[in-house]
Point group: C2
Chain length 164, copies 2
């Protein structure tokens, strides 16, 4: 009589472990976004603005369509957020050099300051977790999260993350 719930059943162990790791991701993400949200509120910005600021910072001169592809939202959704950032002087648009239809995106000095302010909180949070966990754990974290990225997009995404 094989007890499905027995600790000796590898399939059950596996499912339970997987569920725990899924939940872990939820809690980590929940608390990981809480800090930035607080600062953003002071500026009347939201998480959507943060994402734009982050990716424009990491990819100065990015095109609108590249940004859309990263964020996986519609251009109408992006435009609201992007226009607000441009109007309030956090993001700057410059026509592309080789293709003048493009409007390349850059953070202004103001934008860079805000990015620093927000990302510092997250970096401290991550640094703290890294210190507690140790270098080997960090390597594991990177490996697993990389594997969670959609396979068809993984290479491109990783290239972007590790860029330069």
């Amino acid at each position: 009589m094989a007890d499905v719930k027995s600790g000796t059943n590898p399939l059950f162990l596996r499912e339970e472990e997987l569920r725990q790791c899924i939940e872990l991701l939820f809690f980590a993400y929940r608390d990981f976004t809480a800090g930035p949200d607080e600062i953003l509120r002071e500026y009347n910005f939201g998480r959507a603005h943060h994402r734009v600021i982050h990716f424009v910072c990491r990819n100065q001169g990015i095109t609108v369509s590249e940004l859309l592809e990263i964020l996986r939202i519609t251009k109408q959704s992006l435009s609201r957020v992007l226009n607000a950032l441009v109007e309030r002087g956090f993001v700057e648009q410059r026509p592309g050099v080789t293709d003048r239809r493009q409007r390349l995106l850059y953070l202004t000095e103001e934008g860079k300051k805000l990015e620093q302010k927000i990302s510092k909180i997250q970096r401290n949070q991550v640094a703290q977790a890294f210190m507690e966990a140790g270098g080997e754990a960090v390597a594991g974290y990177r490996k697993v999260l990389s594997g969670l990225i959609n396979e068809s997009d993984r290479e491109r995404a990783l290239k972007r993350i590790l860029n330069k």
Copy 2:
């Protein structure tokens, strides 16, 4: 002339690595939620419904206030989603035994079926990533993500995750 951008500057390396790991979390979460979202759409449910289904499944008989604390949303926000799930027969409410003010939450058979269907996708996705990354990496993943949980809530959250 110390080059701040030099690869030999540990502070720069550190910041760059931290930023990469932050971005990794964004991409992983983005693609991690895409699968469930697709299924949920067929039921006219959203991510909010999924979260309720998930945590009620993992904590059968959970009280409304415990659920609110996990999700970190207002009861008004929860009620919309919860009422829909109850009305459509995915979640069941039973009065508490010792405290009859409570309405303990349970998944119905229907609810369990949907949960299985959704979580199977995520479990497969995570299992795949785990296989590619290896057991040591998984341990690292768990360590780091645990450390990302808000310190004041960490113990309680981890207890809930690892429960039973």
